[in-house]
């Protein structure tokens, strides 16, 4: 990777490069993001080695949030490129502002002039899209390339090029080289296999569903109004729900929604009936909701979940894969 010219004395850049794991741990904690060693080391290495970090995991386990945290703790801009099918260079890199160009032509025509082409294709008419914005940023920004598995393979190849040297050429303006390599965060829900090349270029982090312990800490951090008892119940019940044979597991986002819903209902401890009534906060698939209601119909499901649960110990549901159905 070609080292681009760096802005001398940019103090924040020095911060990112000098961040120690200990500093990161504190910064993440202050920001309310609960991160274990795996996450911290991967982020730290990405910063120190100046490589993009590729974060994979199920939806809602906290991938995107990491980019936001980084932007906050380094006090820099978050530039987001949301990927989708059909995303192309003009939406990702730059586009010419045709409306403005037309307007300019019309104005000149009224004055009896014809504009120079070079005038029309100049900075004034350039619409910067996220990639170009990141490349031209004054300060080392966080570039979030979100859900990269959603874009087409051709676009991924283009992205790979850009991430290789952070240099792009705009025919009318020439070659533009990044002042500094942005902090790049790529996320993927793994719906499509990413290319080997892209994977190899990145530091890799896979985020699993959290253990009971971690989820408990997340609930405490994000919903501090919840009592200890409620937070613990929530973490234990969610862990058991994740052991069920579901179409879509509840994610952290849903755990948090559910906790807030329980708080709003003035609940202090969870029971089967409450779980059945609020199941739609936790599960987004109809069949899953029905399955959970059925499980809770016996009246002992939550009790059992709480009995089997020791937040001190990583819960099986978060760690091991379920055995195949008999």
């Amino acid at each position: 990777m070609a080292a681009p010219a760096r802005a001398r004395g940019a103090s924040f850049l020095e911060d990112a490069k000098n961040a120690t794991t200990e500093w990161l741990r504190k910064a993440f904690e202050l920001d309310g993001y609960v991160a274990g060693q795996e996450i911290l080391i991967a982020v730290y290495l990405a910063l120190r080695l100046e490589k993009p970090i590729l974060i994979e995991g199920a939806p809602g386990v906290g991938k995107t949030e990491i980019a936001k945290v980084l932007a906050r703790i380094f006090g820099t801009d978050l530039i987001r490129l949301q990927c989708y099918e059909g995303l192309d260079e003009s939406k990702a890199l730059y586009e010419w502002d045709y409306q403005k160009q037309l307007l300019h032509i019309q104005l000149l025509r009224e004055a009896g002039c014809i504009p120079e082409e070079s005038e029309l294709f100049s900075e004034d008419y350039l619409l910067e899209r996220p990639l170009l914005k990141a490349i031209r940023a004054e300060r080392r920004p966080v570039l979030l390339i979100d859900e990269v598995d959603k874009c087409d393979p051709e676009f991924e190849a283009f992205l790979f090029e850009v991430l290789s040297d952070f240099t792009v050429s705009v025919p009318e303006l020439g070659t533009i080289r990044a002042r500094q390599i942005p902090i790049v965060v790529l996320t993927s829900n793994n719906e499509r296999e990413l290319s080997d090349g892209l994977r190899r270029r990145c530091v890799y982090l896979f985020i699993e569903y959290p253990s009971v312990e971690k989820e408990l800490r997340i609930v405490r951090s994000r919903v501090p109004e919840a009592s200890d008892k409620l937070a613990r119940d929530v973490a234990c019940v969610v862990a058991r729900v994740r052991t069920m044979d579901l179409r879509k597991q509840p994610s952290i986002a849903e755990t948090l929604d559910w906790t807030r819903a329980l708080l709003a209902l003035g609940v202090e401890k969870v029971n089967d009936q409450l779980l059945a009534e609020t199941a739609t906060m936790l599960l987004k698939n109809r069949d899953d909701v029905l399955a959970l209601r059925e499980a809770a119909a016996g009246g002992r499901w939550v009790t059992e979940a709480l009995e089997a649960c020791e937040p001190g110990r990583p819960h099986q549901a978060g760690k091991t894969r379920r055995p195949p159905r008999p």
Partner: protein
């Protein structure tokens, strides 16, 4: 020499040792099927310089982040890391254990070889041949011993006869070995270094049957009979994960429905053109039907058994599965495909034996002809036809015609070709059939998962 130094026992030349260790560790990973390239190895080294080498957790996380880029490989990495960077005592104990096991095996084979003697002299057999003998049933073993003692006692016995008997026994054992489908050895388990082999084998033992099982990269026809249960567990896991993934994809596409602008504007006229109430287009979700047409002649039977098992595990994610097998002729087996197909490949063979098409010459042309004659109603635009075949068939030109006819009648023809891609150019039929189908290389479970994920997944969209 040891597999790897324990990372927490420090030392002045730690850096050098780490470098050397890392290269050895990467060697282990590669043998486990984790593809680490030189650039990544360099990243791993750079990472080690940045973390606290006294902390096992940091070292593990650093190597994992730089060397392992696929979630599925993580269990392999973790196990290998534990074994490789174990404390010296543990490591030595394990290597000793392994060598002991190897000696025990050698002794067992020698004992077996003694049973296979001609006139009191053990026959000259390879370890594989003797191993095959030990795997035989009691009756077969006895028959072989009887054969040897009878010929030993025969009249006018001489050296020529000994050579003849030896070659008969060898040929017999080799044939059985092929029939049992036993692989020559475990190809992933030979680094040529005892300590590394211990790590590789220990890791493989620990992940057997899970998604990290290196079996996923093995040619399906080379998976031993004895490993079928393990393969079945693996196939079901893969199918299950893919089924979930496909359903997820279909849900998420659903979510991104676009507003119907005409209806929206009409319903918002009273707000003076301010869009309060977005109206969404009703989007219809179609999940494809699958029409499987699988070659079961000769060596294709094994592939087909595995593929049927896999597709069966996906049935919840698609809107229906129709299955046919063919060799000389076509046979509908839709109602007969059930879980356990792969593990009961024998039963399946019998079952299809009854239907008289199993394991004979292959005629795709005649088989497709029958499909058109008797089951034309199954061809529809919401169906993905999946053909499992190495393209070696009689009636290729007829098949070519019928495929051309079939193509516009279905959504797509996906061809799972069990020949390695490098062999494709030497078969005329590959080029012929690839004109009508999306042909993919498919001889490992990893291929299968990938091809179906992409090939079927792309038809799981909102229309």
């Amino acid at each position: 020499m040891s597999a790897g130094r324990s990372v927490d026992d420090g030392g002045p030349d730690l850096a050098l040792q780490l470098q050397e260790n890392l290269v050895r560790f990467v060697h282990v990973l590669r043998h486990l099927g984790v593809p680490v390239n030189p650039a990544e190895t360099v990243d791993g080294l750079a990472a080690l310089e940045l973390v606290d080498l006294g902390s096992r957790g940091e070292v593990r996380a650093a190597l994992r982040a730089t060397l392992v880029k696929t979630e599925g490989h993580a269990p392999l990495f973790d196990k290998a890391f534990d074994l490789f960077f174990a404390r010296p005592e543990e490591r030595q104990a394990r290597t000793a254990e392994r060598l002991q096991a190897r000696d025990a095996r050698r002794a067992r084979l020698e004992a077996a070889n003694a049973e296979l003697a001609f006139q009191g002299e053990p026959l000259e057999l390879t370890p594989e041949q003797i191993e095959t003998y030990t795997r035989l049933g009691e009756v077969q073993q006895e028959r072989l011993r009887d054969f040897l003692s009878e010929t030993s006692a025969g009249y006018g016995v001489d050296g020529k006869l000994q050579a003849l008997v030896e070659s008969i026994v060898r040929g017999y054992l080799d044939r059985l070995r092929r029939e049992m489908g036993v692989e020559a050895n475990r190809p992933h388990a030979r680094t040529g270094d005892d300590d590394l082999d211990t790590v590789v084998e220990g890791t493989v033992d620990a992940v057997v049957g899970s998604e990290a099982d290196p079996m996923i990269h093995r040619d399906m026809k080379d998976i031993a009979e004895a490993d079928l249960p393990r393969a079945t567990i693996l196939i079901r896991r893969l199918a299950r994960r893919l089924a979930t993934r496909l359903s997820r994809r279909y849900r998420e596409t659903h979510k991104r429905s676009r507003p119907n602008m005409r209806r929206t504007i009409r319903s918002n006229i009273r707000h003076g053109g301010v869009l309060f109430d977005l109206r969404y287009r009703e989007r219809k979700i179609t999940r494809p039907k699958l029409l499987l047409i699988c070659d079961v002649s000769g060596s294709m039977a094994r592939y087909t058994a595995f593929i049927l098992e896999f597709i069966f595990g996906l049935r919840a994610a698609v809107s229906g599965v129709e299955a046919f097998v063919f060799s000389e002729q076509l046979e509908r087996i839709t109602g007969l495909v059930a879980p356990g197909v792969a593990a009961r490949a024998q039963d399946l063979a019998k079952l299809v034996d009854k239907s008289k098409v199993w394991g004979r010459g292959t005629d795709l042309g005649a088989s497709l002809e029958t499909l058109f004659e008797k089951h034309e109603n199954l061809l529809s635009r919401d169906t993905v036809a999946i053909i499992v075949s190495d393209t070696k068939t009689l009636g290729a030109d007829q098949a070519d015609d019928l495929l051309r006819k079939m193509k516009p009648r279905v959504k797509e023809i996906l061809w799972l070709n069990t020949l390695p891609r490098e062999d494709w150019p030497s078969h005329r039929t590959v080029g012929l059939f690839a004109r009508h189908s999306d042909m993919r290389e498919c001889y490992t479970l990893a291929h299968l998962e990938q091809v179906i994920r992409v090939g079927v997944g792309r038809h799981m969209r909102a229309t």
